[in-house]
């Protein structure tokens, strides 16, 4: 499991997260771990309006994480060849960039 600078991620700037994967494929490990990290209680408590939707399919499709931010921007991550830490760091860096106000207040 990835150990990032902060154990959880701040989801304030995120509208919803959709995770699509096919559990019988062999390349879904990182996507599933990403889902477990993002769907944890701590992460969801940072923003109760953010929906984490997991879609389980069976069509040998690639695992995809689709994040829609509050300002309309979309981040699509294809998790077939990515590791969990890569996905998490990419996601977290964008979240922090989008949400600088609370960061500035905290620091």
């Amino acid at each position: 499991m990835a150990a990032s600078s902060r154990a959880t991620v701040v989801l304030k700037a995120v509208k919803n997260i959709t995770v699509r994967f096919c559990p019988f494929e062999s390349n879904v490990r990182s996507t599933r771990e990403f889902l477990a990290m993002v769907g944890s209680e701590k992460a969801r408590s940072t923003n109760m309006n953010c929906e984490v939707i997991a879609m389980v399919k069976h069509d040998k499709s690639e695992p995809v994480v689709d994040v829609t931010y509050a300002d309309g921007e979309r981040l699509v991550m294809k998790g077939a060849k990515m590791s969990t830490s890569e996905m998490f760091s990419a996601f977290q860096s964008r979240c922090i960039a989008k949400d600088p106000q609370s960061q500035a207040k905290a620091k």
Partner: protein, 252 residues
């Protein structure tokens, strides 16, 4: 060692001075091992010779003996439990839970217990080592990350799905119902199937449809049947010769 040059005006550019004076002598060739200068050390490290790896021919060495790890007693106990589970229960569903609280877990367990479904936790390693020798080896890729097992002696899929829908964190990955491995969509389709008697009735009606039609036609008024047969012969007669037609008409 600092080498200071005599300050002398060089007559032209590019000329080396005639004298070079050094502070104090440090010789290159010493009796002890002189520590290698850092720049030289770096250069030697970068330009080190790496010989090509010689591969032994395939049959030269015997293959390394695989280390077979013996299971602890706890693992053996868990495997025995698993075997009993798989034999007794009809449904074994695999669900991923993204960190629900203990309260959510408790309420979910309570709701499922009302329908007779038990919630089981097993370590993934034990599950994988148990399943790969079994007939259920295709379930192995399901057990990654935080997984929970739902087991039940009766195939109560609808109730299970409804309970799962109420808790958003649980994601159904797949299920083994009556020794058949089903995906999430398969489970939903299974829940929508009508009961056994209804299906059997539909099958029987489909098979007997043709024969019942024939029986119905035969039971009609015989004049209707003879009129149908005459019409059939008339349709056949343009194809045949004129001799064939009167013979057929005499027969009816």
């Amino acid at each position: 060692m600092a080498a200071t040059l005599c300050v002398k005006l060089l007559p032209k550019q590019g000329w080396l001075p005639l004298t070079q004076s050094v502070r104090h002598g440090s010789k290159a060739v010493t009796r002890h091992r002189k520590p290698v200068h850092f720049f030289r050390q770096k250069l030697l490290a970068v330009t080190q010779y790496i010989p090509p790896a010689r591969v032994a021919p395939p049959g030269a060495y015997p293959p390394p003996a695989k280390q077979v790890q013996e299971d602890n007693t706890l693992t053996v106990l868990m495997k025995r439990n698993l075997k009993k589970l798989f034999q007794e229960n009809k449904i074994i569903a695999v669900v991923q839970n993204n960190a629900s609280n203990s309260e959510d877990m408790m309420s979910l367990k309570y709701r499922l217990h009302k329908h007779g479904i038990t919630v089981k936790f097993f370590p993934n390693q034990v599950m994988r080592s148990f399943l790969k020798d079994n007939i259920y080896c295709n379930m192995v890729p399901l057990f990654i990350g935080p997984t929970v097992l739902f087991v039940c002696k009766e195939p109560k899929v609808k109730e299970m799905l409804m309970t799962l829908r109420s808790s958003p964190q649980m994601t159904l990955l797949g299920a083994c119902i009556d020794n058949t491995l089903l995906s999430a969509e398969g489970v939903v389709a299974y829940s929508k199937l009508p009961s056994m008697t209804v299906v059997q009735g539909q099958l029987v009606s489909g098979l007997t449809m043709l024969t019942s039609r024939t029986a119905h036609m035969l039971q009609h008024h015989p004049a209707h049947l003879s009129a149908l047969l005459q019409q059939y012969i008339k349709q056949q007669s343009p194809d045949n010769t004129a001799e064939g037609a009167p013979k057929a008409e005499e027969a009816t």
